[in-house]
């Protein structure tokens, strides 16, 4: 199973980024090999549609689950179409969130915000 986590820094000790679409990096964690890698979020400085672009990036990485504090409705539509499981992050490091996930302790993310669009 492949898990994605929006990351402030390229380290498992890093905090989870408060933003999904504009996170600097994504941690891609493979539960089978217990290995992790970090990818740049090409959407982090997009003038608009960052959530959609970031979600497309994760779909293209064949991610099965996303651990995040929050997500906007457009990104959620892309990830739900890909049947990605959305989980609510807790205020701990990426490694601790992954550990919590593996123990089945993370609740599903049901709150979808309407985005932070501007004119």
């Amino acid at each position: 199973m492949i898990i994605a986590v929006p990351a402030e820094n390229q380290s498992l000790d890093s905090a989870i980024c408060q933003s999904f679409g504009r996170a600097p990096f994504f941690c891609i964690y493979d539960t089978e090999s217990e290995s992790s890698r970090f990818i740049d979020n090409s959407a982090k400085e997009a003038s608009g549609g960052a959530g959609i672009e970031a979600a497309q990036l994760l779909v293209d990485q064949n991610v099965d689950a996303l651990i995040t504090y929050r997500i906007g409705e457009n990104a959620a539509r892309v990830l739900k179409a890909a049947q990605t499981t959305l989980l609510k992050a807790v205020n701990l490091s990426i490694a601790d969130n992954v550990a919590n996930f593996l123990e089945g302790k993370l609740p599903s993310l049901d709150e979808i915000h309407s985005g932070y669009h501007h004119g």
Binding site: G49, N74, A82, H117, G119
Partner: protein, 282 residues
């Protein structure tokens, strides 16, 4: 009017008196065109009370996909500059509210799976107030951007004198409005907040290379931060309009002060002449 000239009245924020200045300038301009570019909440018609001649629905094109033809190749979604398209499991997802109607996706689709479908964005109104042509547009509730409405309004500039009542702020709508202006009249309040927003819109018009001057509105005897800003930043002060209870009363009941007061009629006629002189000099 000997020359074709378009003047945009701008403010950087709402409530500075932009519409009051625009409609009264237009009312003393004789044969001219007034365009209300505040497409999110047009209100110039409340003062000019134009006899309406026509209404036109303005549409914008949005992509629709034929799923029988789309093979999920991602050429369109990779190319979309606004990220209004995504492809999941070979299926195209379209986000119309993110789409800027550039048309690139239909052009690129190798399968011919995308078509442009017109959607109503708002209504453009044409009318007249005596010799003044009055134009306005109103965006449908919930639309993300009124820029195409402003583009549609600008196609109606016929030459001669055009006075544009600009949208508030200094965002996309204001940017589109300034593009078409020869001269920008910035209306500013005597407050710190007013000064901050004056600075933003002044920076924008400067960046776009448009000549501008400020009208200091609602002035009192107290220190005026907007005046201090103008003096410190080389922004010419074209006029001051002192706070006046009577002007506020007349304006708040939707009347034109230039039609009720000879002194104000003279004030706005002189202001218009000064603006035209400044604009022609620039």
């Amino acid at each position: 009017m000997a020359e074709d000239i378009t003047i945009a009245v701008l403010s950087g924020k709402g409530g500075t008196g932009k519409t009051m200045v625009s409609v009264n300038l237009a009312a003393v301009a004789g044969s001219a065109t007034y365009i209300d570019c505040d497409v999110e909440e047009p209100n110039g018609h409340l003062f000019l009370k134009p006899a309406m001649l026509s209404q036109e629905i303005i549409t914008i094109g949005k992509p629709e996909v034929d799923n029988r033809l789309c093979d999920g190749c991602k050429i369109c979604s990779d190319a979309c500059a606004f990220k209004a398209l995504a492809v999941v499991k070979k299926k195209l997802l379209i986000f119309p509210e993110i789409c800027h109607s550039c048309g690139l996706c239909y052009t690129l689709c190798p399968q011919g799976a995308l078509t442009e479908v017109p959607q109503s964005l708002g209504v453009l109104y044409t009318g007249h107030h005596e010799d003044l042509q009055v134009l306005a547009a109103e965006m449908n509730i919930g639309e993300p951007s009124g820029v195409p409405l402003i583009k549609a309004l600008m196609k109606h500039i016929k030459g001669g004198l055009t006075i544009i009542d600009g949208p508030p702020g200094s965002g996309c709508l204001v940017h589109e409005t300034i593009e078409h202006a020869d001269f920008c009249l910035l209306v500013a309040e005597p407050t710190r907040f007013g000064e901050q927003n004056l600075a933003l819109v002044h920076r924008l018009v400067t960046l776009m290379g448009k000549p501008a001057a400020v009208l200091l509105n609602k002035t009192t005897g107290d220190p005026n931060p907007s005046e201090a800003y103008a003096k410190a930043n080389g922004l010419p002060i074209i006029a001051s309009l002192p706070w006046d209870d009577e002007l506020a009363r007349v304006t708040s009941r939707g009347a034109l002060i230039t039609e009720e007061s000879g002194a104000y009629r003279q004030y706005f006629s002189t202001l218009l002449a000064t603006i035209l002189k400044e604009a022609q000099r620039a």
